[in-house]
């Protein structure tokens, strides 16, 4: 029983963290900072998917969302402009 309560508490904490991360990405003017926070968001998302018992999606999200998407976005920001407005 205690273990079930702990898993639910971890689930709630992770969802709150995700919402805070999404809001910070929405507010940040520096695009590099926004992308790094988005990478942390993806990593927390893959931890949440481990909590929800889908290890396949967690592996794929950790590799694609936190790895490749971040690198590609930073490469494009390096070629264009860094600051919004």
């Amino acid at each position: 029983m205690r273990q079930v309560i702990d898993v639910v508490a971890l689930n709630v904490i992770l969802v709150v963290f995700l919402i805070v991360c999404a809001l910070v990405v929405e507010r940040t003017k520096d695009l590099i900072s926004a992308v790094i926070i988005f990478s942390a968001y993806s990593l927390m998302m893959s931890v949440l998917w481990l909590v929800l018992k889908t290890p396949d999606v967690a592996l794929t999200e950790a590799a694609i969302g936190a790895g490749v998407t971040t690198i590609i976005l930073i490469a494009v920001i390096g070629r264009t402009k860094r600051y919004e407005k």
Binding site: D56, L59, T60, A63, V68, I71, I72, A75, R79
Partner: protein, 142 residues
């Protein structure tokens, strides 16, 4: 880049990342993972190589021709495995009916065509990500 520490560490760590990616691909039918996750890991190791050693040396290791070959080759391998199903069993992508070796469930050599399809997807995904990265960071002279 001239950082010696970064170069040494990257040279040591790249084969291990690739080995782990191959492990994920080949164990896709008995454990979590599969072609997409493993292929992305291999692509990420090549991206690391590009970031440390520069685009020119990375293109010598993994040229555009090789990457074009791997991209089309992945899909063609997938379709060829499906066509074996048409020829032998009468419908596209047949597994058990097409006479693939099923093996004992739970061992590495089992599940017929599923590991072959995973290998095809892995080749395709790895070469796709490295091509995307090379194309996006290439600065033109014009």
């Amino acid at each position: 880049m001239k950082d010696q520490v970064l170069k040494t560490i990257a040279r040591i760590i790249t084969p291990f990342i690739q080995l782990y990616g191959i492990f994920i691909i080949l164990n896709g039918h008995i454990s979590p993972g599969g072609g997409f996750a493993g292929g992305t890991m291999i692509g990420t190791s090549l991206i690391l190589y590009t970031l440390v050693f520069g685009v020119d040396q990375a293109k010598r290791k993994f040229s555009e021709k090789a990457s074009a070959f791997a991209e089309s080759g992945g899909i063609i391998l997938y379709i060829l495995i499906g066509v074996i199903g048409i020829v032998v069993a009468g419908h596209f992508l047949a597994n058990k009916g097409a006479g693939f070796d099923m093996g004992t469930p739970g061992s590495l050599w089992s599940a017929g065509m599923i590991p072959l399809l995973m290998i095809a997807i892995g080749i395709k995904v790895a070469s796709t990500f490295i091509t995307i990265f090379h194309t996006l960071i290439e600065v033109k002279d014009a």
